[in-house]
Subunit: 596 residues, 2 copies
């Protein structure tokens, strides 16, 4: 068996950890003015290229700007302590008043999650979305700052046929399928051409005929030239996945035949599926308890809007679960990714107030594995299998379908819409490339396909679309606690160093007259060695620090305070070298020198 | 799109991070003596249950102990700074002299990696393996401590028909297939019955007939009762994977038709495949440069043993790569998982001495994705697609096959060998459970199947095998730099706290007479805030510490040194609360109080 090796092998002496050597090219550049006399149409992806999450795209024509989506991204393994990452909008500085509208394609966090922060920074421009989406944006705003949602200026898309004008942009919409209600595709018509952007999309097909259920042919008739910006997360997905119908049939059979209680773990964002499970349970005369803050909130929002209709009594509270026969109850819970504080984890660790797992329970994980979560999901599965005899997950049965179109679907869309230009978006870079290759293989010429980087400006010069060399700053903006953007690469690197080998603070009191160290130096260390069993090393460190300090001071007694910085630097290097020799570890070393 | 959410959400005030609430049950227990008059046969898995890696199994009969494998495991995401993890052998304390032999099934690190440390601790018992395996064990020993391999007492399995006796154990071997040469299955015959253990295995089948190429029927004829301990990593693997032949054909076509240079990324452990690629290159008149320490070493070992035969001139050095026409050169390199310091990463970041990627290069990733590495592999792919127009990986073409048997293979083995007892091993717990279910579905009765935990002793009482309630200590032993086992949960938790929110050390000088703080407190902080832009907060912290210290001292002036610990504790709590209010971050707070 080949197993996971540490991504960060032991570093050479003195180097700093650097887990992400890739993609760290400078991405600065000016946005530039856009002539109003001879306006250009520009597309600027602030996120959604290279990474998944923090999706956000600017469209500019003359001095009109329309924004699509304001998503957030969750941190990577080495971005310690970061809550989430939002798009960098520094390129909009001075152009805030040009933003005519922010359109949200749907209510998932990677499309609306940054909205409370970014809308506030832009002075609350008009936001546009369908009812569910706007309800989610509003909820997110309240979550971020209670009672702040009154600041939102919202326009609701009441009908898919609604049209709006924002400056030079004429906005229309079209139906798409995704795992949340009210997902919508957007058409931005401008004098220079039309942009078609389905947001996130998948293609449900008739189980028998294989024909798509939604008709996209009308998109071939938009004003030319047309640019299709297509979410391409499924660009390497060749598997023939189960249809919604097959998944529903599997889930329905499980719910109907389970010998006892049923616990279903899924994403809170799978609102359509949760709604459908509640419906199925109702039909089978079972009660459903939802558990998990985001899940309850989402279903509440969907219910208020009438998107989920239940008879009174179908939904029960989690603390009522024992009031009904086991084979009449279903719990739908968050935590299918093994997240530490989510419901499923609390159940299996015995920390849930109302629910203990029983051998007779049927546990269903109806979710995909999100890259990076494999290890925690494996631990979750291990423990579920320990506590229950009936664990069902995607490796066993088709109980989850992706919310994103695969290769065949991408091909179908391209061949149906036949856009003049193709820009794959909202996926990792290699998927964008694969989507581009797919387009070429289906008759698109290379000069009609644009693969953009985050921040790279694409422009229509009246004749032809082209990717410019100009890149606006899209360096990540980290949100950590109350801080937005204050944690940068320095703080993160320090966290990485301390995570790897801990830290050692030495406090040395120096008698400036005798040039001697007074008392024993204080050593404060965490995450480096086990202090209680390292008495000997601790004594050696104290002696080493004392000796080194005195030897340095004998040679040169600093006069100015800058010189003391030099002393500290020498002490740090000497002690670092000593500690590496003794332990082959490289803790962060921080000397404090007090003059007495 | 649903994206990765942080596994560790923001914690409640005062709590410590705990990413791994699962599986942390106490696993202590005594090994116990084994009567020599009325000896029992015991199986004690020290690793290989619940996790992948650190595979190691003890077999005891009377006072004879035979060990199979001594593997290592690489750390998990939250085990910061750990190099690797080895099995805990504390249960062998006092029984070291009973260890008659250590058998290694094959030379991969998860089967031999802990050998230098554990063999030394056991006083170098006899080691047994086929030539390639022993060469790898020896190399590992030298790598750990130069010139120490002379301490090894090795018995080479020269022929698959070799037999050895170690006390009551009679050892025989059988042929298995795996991704490294000289993998071997082991039969341990004892008066109480026979254990059949293939180590890691896969089942190659004839492309046309689907029939296995290796015959296992003879294993049905071992002395009864027989226990099959079967590596079950493929227990949820339902996909019909490509055969070796298909993979080879795909690779051969790629190598033959590539327009320019070829760069193949794979695991250094895939020695068979690397050997085969070299052969294919030779046939096509191409030169091969190997790059990566472990890869070069492994191929060197295999070549010395005659397992890889090349004509002079086929293998070239990486710095000779420019001496040949591009379409005549192949580079085989490590780093297909995106590991920061491995060859592929160095190439794409421009840090490789001899190789820069060109658009015309063909890059082939011939490796599986190891769970947990998804994010780095995606970044690797992104960058490869940027720099080369021809990137081939497993999502595009079958250019990797697993070294582990899948569900169909497990079924076939069970039905062919028909053991009296079945113990699935060397996989995650949920896979062990799935393998057990598979066995039940194929006619095994439940009482003939044992799913063990790490450390849990299984015993044959003369009539029946059963899993006892006794668990020996298998808590992980961490290797970090020169330290083996000194980094424990306390040090790791401190690393996690500092990784998440950094640390703040405050040094306060107190005049014990006036009970006043002298000078301004020194604040040393890293990984918490960006110091340069947080002048205001730093001043507030200084003032807060001063005020708090004086207020504490006014109430009570400590006399004994223990009391100063109490003062420090109060100061820590006060400052921690203050910092959380100000930032919603929870750095590690460490006060130092100096009396003047």
């Amino acid at each position: 068996m080949t197993q996971k090796q540490p991504i960060q092998p032991r570093r050479g002496r003195g180097s700093r950890p650097n887990n992400r050597p890739i993609n760290e090219r400078p991405q600065k550049g000016t946005f530039g003015t856009n002539s109003t006399k001879n306006p250009k149409l520009r597309i600027i992806p602030l996120g959604g290229m290279e990474e998944v999450g923090k999706n956000m795209t600017l469209f500019e024509y003359g001095d009109d700007i329309v924004i699509l989506d304001m998503g957030l991204k969750f941190p990577e393994e080495d971005q310690h302590g970061i809550d989430y990452i939002i798009p960098n909008i520094s390129c909009l500085k001075g152009k805030e008043k040009n933003v005519r509208a922010v359109i949200f394609s749907h209510g998932h966090l990677d499309h609306i999650g940054a909205s409370p922060i970014l809308l506030s920074r832009l002075g609350y421009p008009t936001v546009v979305g369908r009812p569910m989406t706007l309800a989610m944006v509003k909820h997110r705003q309240e979550d971020y700052e209670p009672k702040s949602s009154s600041r939102l200026k919202a326009i609701t898309i009441k009908s898919i046929a609604d049209r709006f004008s924002f400056g030079a942009f004429h906005i229309r919409f079209f139906q798409v399928e995704h795992s949340i209600m009210d997902a919508v595709g957007v058409i931005l018509e401008t004098p220079a051409g039309s942009i078609i952007h389905p947001g996130d999309w998948t293609m449900e097909r008739d189980s028998k005929t294989g024909k798509p259920l939604v008709d996209y042919r009308h998109l071939a008739r938009v004003k030319r030239p047309s640019i299709l910006m297509l979410e391409s997360l499924g660009a390497v997905d060749v598997r023939k996945s189960a249809t919604q119908d097959e998944m529903k049939k599997n889930l329905e059979t499980l719910i109907r035949t389970a010998p006892g209680r049923i616990i279903i773990g899924t994403f809170a964002s799978q609102i359509e599926r949760i709604g459908w499970i509640i419906q199925a349970a109702e039909t089978l005369g079972k009660k459903v308890a939802l558990d998990g803050y985001s899940m309850k909130t989402n279903i509440e929002i969907a219910s208020k809007l009438g998107y989920i209709k239940t008879k009174k009594g179908t939904l029960i509270k989690i603390n009522q679960i024992e009031d009904y026969p086991e084979n009449k109850t279903i719990i739908i819970a968050t935590g299918a990714q093994g997240e530490g504080n989510a419901v499923l984890s609390r159940i299996i660790t015995g920390n849930h107030k109302n629910v203990r797992l029983k051998k007779s329970d049927t546990v269903i994980l109806s979710s995909s594995i999100i890259p990076g979560n494999e290890a925690t999901i494996q631990k979750l599965k291990d423990e579920l299998y320990r506590q229950s005899d009936n664990v069902i997950h995607g490796q066993i049965m088709d109980i989850h379908v992706s919310g994103h179109g695969g290769r065949e679907d991408i091909k179908y869309i391209l061949n149906t819409i036949k856009p003049d230009y193709f820009i794959p978006v909202y996926a990792y870079h290699y998927m964008l490339r694969e989507a581009a290759m797919l387009a070429r293989a289906n008759g698109f010429s290379s000069d009609k396909i644009l693969v953009l980087d985050n921040g790279q400006i694409a422009e229509f010069d009246g004749k032809q679309w082209h990717a410019t060399d100009i890149k606006v700053d899209t360096s990540p903006v980290f949100v950590d606690g109350l801080g937005v953007g204050d944690v940068g690469s320095v703080v993160l690197k320090d966290r990485q160093v301390m995570a790897a080998d801990g830290m050692v603070v030495v406090v040395v009191q120096v008698n400036t007259k005798t040039r001697k160290v007074m008392n024993n130096p204080d050593i404060i260390t965490r995450g480096f060695i086990h202090i209680k069993t390292s008495e000997k090393l601790m004594t050696e460190i104290r002696n080493h620090v004392k000796k080194t300090t005195e030897s340095i001071l004998q040679k040169k007694m600093p006069k100015k305070s800058e010189d003391w910085g030099e002393i500290r630097g020498k002490l740090r290097d000497e002690l670092g070298t000593f500690l590496f020799q003794e332990t082959q570890r490289e803790p962060m070393v921080l000397p404090v020198v007090l003059k007495v």
